[in-house]
Amino acid sequence: MKTQTDSQLILQYQNGNEKSLSLLINRHKKDLFNFIFYKLMDEDLANDIFQDTFIKIIITLKEGRYKEENKFILWAKRIAHNLIIDHYRLQSKNIKISETSYENEEFSIFDIIKEPENNIEDKLIDIQINEDLLKMLIMLPDNQQEVIKLRFFDGLSFKEIADHTDTSINTTLGRVRYALINLRKIMEEHKIILTK
C-alpha cells in the first residue's frame, strides 16, 4: 500500500476521517516527543506539552485554519516550542510571587497584578522590529532565509535543521553564520537598529 503524505492525511482528517489523525500521531510522535523532552528534561511535563500541542493542532485543523506553508512536523514543533516558552514564563512568574509573598518584606501587590504583557508602545515596537527583520530576511539567499527561520522562529536545533534540510551540521552552522553576517551588513547599509 502506498504511504500517504502528511498533507493527504490532514485533508482526510479534516473531512472526518479520525483514523488519519492516529496515523499522523504515530508517524511523528517519536520526533515531536523527543523535541519537547530534550528542551524540558522532564518526562511528565513533556507528556503534558505533547498533549497540549496536539489539542492545538486538532482545534486548528477542525476549524479549518491550517495553512500549509511548511512541513507538518515543523508546524507541530513550532506550537510545542511556543507552549514550552509559555510554561517557562508561567513558572518564573509563580516563583516571583511566592518569594515576595512569604520571604521578602518589600512585598508589593503590583508584583502580582502587574500587566505581564507588553504595553501598546512595546507591541508597536515589536511589530516594527518584526517587519524590519522580515524585510531584511527576504534579501538573503533562500538557503540562509530557511535556516534563520528554522533556528530562530521555529526553535530547532542545528542537528534538526541539518536533518530537515538534508545537509550536514557544518553546512547548517555555516549558513546561519553567513546569514547573520549578511543581516548585520544589511542593517549597517540601511541604518536599521533592531532594539527596544
Binding site: 479520525e18 500521531i25 510522535k29 523527543n34 505533547f50 498533549q51 486538532i58 477542525k62 479549518g64
Partner: protein, 45 residues
C-alpha cells in the same frame, strides 16, 4: 560493569494514555458551520 553512555540521546515516546486522550478528544469534537460560515467546535458529550 556496564558503563552509562551519557552522550547518547535516549529515544523516548509519549505515554499511551496521552495518545488515547488526544484521539478521544478529537472524536468528541464536532464541527458546526454557522450561517455566517464560521466553524464552531462543540463537544459531543
Amino acid at each position: 560493569m556496564k558503563k552509562n553512555d551519557t552522550l547518547t540521546k535516549k529515544a523516548l515516546m509519549p505515554k499511551k494514555e496521552i495518545i488515547d486522550f488526544i484521539l478521544n478528544y478529537s472524536k468528541n469534537l464536532q464541527t458546526i458551520k454557522t450561517k455566517s460560515r464560521k466553524t464552531i467546535l462543540v463537544s459531543k458529550n
